[in-house]
Amino acid sequence: MATSTPTRDAYAPPPPKKPASARRQTWRSRLWRFDDKASPYAYIAPFFLVFGAFGLYPLIYTGWIALHRVEMTGLDQMEWVGWDNFDRILHDSEFWTAVSNTFLIGVMSTVPQLLVALGLAHLLNYKLRASTFWRTVILTPYATSVASAALVFALVFRADGGLLNWALEFVGLGDTNWANGHWTSKIAISVIVIWRWTGYNTLIYLAAMQAVPSDLYEAASLDGASRWQQFLKVTIPSLRPTILFTIVISTIGSMQLFGEPLLLEGGTLGAIGGNENQYETLSIYLYNYGWNLGHLGPAAAVAWAMLALLLIIAAVNWLIGRFVRKSAV
């Protein structure tokens, strides 16, 4: 197109502008490339910034405190003591009581809770009238705050005029001082935990169950498998990763158990986990050390010990998971 060429020349931008335009083009493309490469980082940055400020920094600072002598009455005075605080808690029999209590209450609440959740999810997976209603109802306890749940259950488990003792006395089973006993107090706390978290786990299981392809069940029923056999041979194996997930979540949850034991009796006794520390969990131990006794160094050391314990439990979980996977193949 020879005719159009001069016209184009005539309208061409003045020479000095040309390099600028070129520059802008490269600038723009460079920006575009930068955008392409950098924006993903920018998009995920908020999490890491928040995590850095509210997760990592406190974690490291807690570690720093754990190596110092710091008192609640003088936060600005820190005195380097090295590993003394760790030494101190590891040689404290109360620490080991708290470890075993945490472990026992963890098992006593997690195992029944997950089994019941599995059963409930299986039931909810049937075609039901008003299924949304039942699913909502089952999640209600989870929506209740720990404090109110624990306070209500504290009334239920009260030794003197508690609801449960009243009922037990009615059928002639005498009365029990629930918070006072070594096992009864753990049972009481486990009941609160089970009540609160079963619905939550049920819904997770239910979601996983609904993702199981229905032809698996059809094939199974064609083969003459009963409902129970279908549950055992189809549902459970398909749910294995979900079950592992709920176990991990529940383990972390029971490690951090705090509100339920604190409020079971409340007051001074709650803060030391009962008069013989019979239901003192690690979180309560930490709280008592830091806030009642005012020694923040050992309290920080407990926090790090809890992290170490969680990592150990996670490693054991992982090993078991690998073993289960291998043996399943």
């Binding site: 999490f47 928040v50 509210f54 003197d160 007051g267 001074t268 006794l269 008069n275």
Partner: protein, 442 residues
């Protein structure tokens, strides 16, 4: 540029959200009541009207005596709001946190005697010096010394003190065949706490079913220890509780009471303890003056007139408890708060509190006021408490305080509770107590 700005904006938002969330969680965890945090309440508005906040614990009795309303009448531009925490063991850690962060403090804070030494030692610079506002000579001499630093700064004005007496349930005494008259009861226990235990055994023989002679052995322990100048620390600040004669005497008596099953074994101020008062299942309570208020509130109107008050066993002068009012410097109205403290702890007001709930004045000026001198507690069968306490108050020994008095007392009480409730052997209980206390002190 655009990208970074959006991200920064978002991260700020997220950070704000996260901070709010964390703060909310922290508040929930620490059981904070946020009344004292709302800064709008404490700042003055255009008319110069201000709201002073008073944070305290247990029962200070100002509301019962109508003092805050009266102060508002006298100073129409000032409204006083009270934020009460039931349990001092919950109140104190919160106070320390607030002092550390310098926020959330009320204009006036109640300070318990078991904590005053620690506060004087470590936090004195955060409290306004009240020595210029109040006249320290008005108080019984030892009271204000407790809140005074080495360089003469006074961080708290004394509210009440706790001269010791014995509260007893006349109805239960009658049923068990014991005398109910104040003087006769006093005569039976005149020899000291051993007599008191002997009276307990006499009570037990004919006691109405389901009732006990005393509420808790730990209360008796505290009453015994309180009559001594040296308790848990010596003058040099060394913790001597392991060898302290008063601790040993109290502990042995408590172990004896637990062994003879004279006590219901209830931790004082706990819900079961309150329920036991309501149901009248315990015949006696070791009764520092402020305890009368606790009994009348928890036992309720149904038990009015059933209780009476007499002198403590052995009639040794003892002081158990008592508090102070301090003014944190971080408050917005330090000057006005100082004035309020001066007024609340003046003789007339202390007398009014005494009349309302029986907390005994620490201000000597109050002792000659008719409200104190001839005071009778209607709830307690018109017991002449003014007569009972005024003489005792003057002969109370000056006690040596230590920074961890409160925690030591609580820990020993818990272990005494284990002896009476769970049958823990005295030696095991003592070991458990010393372990826990060493942890607290160290």
């Amino acid at each position: 540029m655009r990208i970074t700005r959006t991200v920064a904006g978002r991260s700020r938002r997220v950070a704000v959200l996260a901070t709010t969330g964390l703060t909310a969680t922290a508040l929930l965890l620490t059981g904070c009541s946020s009344d004292s945090d709302s800064s709008d309440d404490t700042s003055s508005d255009a008319n110069g009207k201000i709201t002073l906040t008073v944070a305290d614990f247990g029962q200070f009795g100002y509301k019962e005596a109508g003092l805050f309303a009266k102060y508002h009448e006298l100073h129409p531009n000032i409204t006083v709001k009270e934020d009460t925490t039931a349990d001092e063991k919950v109140y104190y850690p919160k106070l320390l946190q607030q002092l550390n962060s310098g926020s959330g403090l009320a204009d006036v804070q109640g300070l318990e005697v078991g904590r005053i030494k620690e506060l004087v030692d470590t936090k004195a610079d955060q409290f306004a010096d009240l020595s210029k506002v109040i006249d320290v000579n008005e108080w019984v001499s030892w009271k204000e010394k407790q809140a005074t630093t080495k360089d003469g700064k006074v961080i708290g004005a004394g509210t009440d003190i706790g001269p010791m007496s014995l509260c007893y349930n006349t109805e239960l005494f009658k049923k068990a065949g014991l005398p109910t008259d104040r003087k006769e009861v006093a005569a039976k226990i005149a020899g000291g706490w051993e007599d008191y235990l002997a009276l307990g055994e006499e009570y037990k023989k004919k006691a109405p079913a389901g009732t006990y002679f005393m509420d808790s052995a730990s209360a008796m322990y505290n009453a015994v220890v309180s009559s001594n100048a040296k308790q848990y620390y010596d003058e040099s600040g060394e913790a001597i509780y392991k060898d302290s004669p008063s601790v040993k005497q109290g502990w042995d008596l408590a172990a004896e009471a637990a062994d003879k099953k004279l006590t219901q074994g209830l931790a004082q101020f706990s819900d079961p303890w309150k329920a036991a008062l309501r149901k009248s299942t315990m015949a006696t309570v070791a009764c520092p003056a402020w305890m009368a208020g606790q009994i009348s509130v928890n036992a309720g109107d149904a038990n009015k007139g059933k209780w009476d008050i007499t002198t403590a066993p052995g009639a040794t002068a003892a002081n158990w408890g008592g508090s102070f009012l301090g003014v944190p410097k971080a408050g917005k109205h330090v000057k006005e708060a100082g004035e309020l403290v001066k007024w609340l702890t003046a003789p007339e007001q202390q007398a009014a509190v005494f009349k309302a709930i029986g907390s005994f004045p620490s201000n000597k000026g109050a002792y000659d006021l008719p409200d104190v001198k001839t005071a009778k507690l209607e709830y307690f069968n018109n017991a002449p408490i003014g007569e009972l306490y005024a003489d005792e108050a003057k002969s109370i020994p000056e006690t040596v305080l230590g920074p961890k008095d409160g925690i030591i007392k609580d820990t020993i009480s818990t272990q005494i509770n284990n002896m009476e409730q769970r049958g823990t052997k005295p030696d095991d209980a003592w070991n458990a107590a010393t372990n826990a206390i060493d942890k607290a002190i160290g």
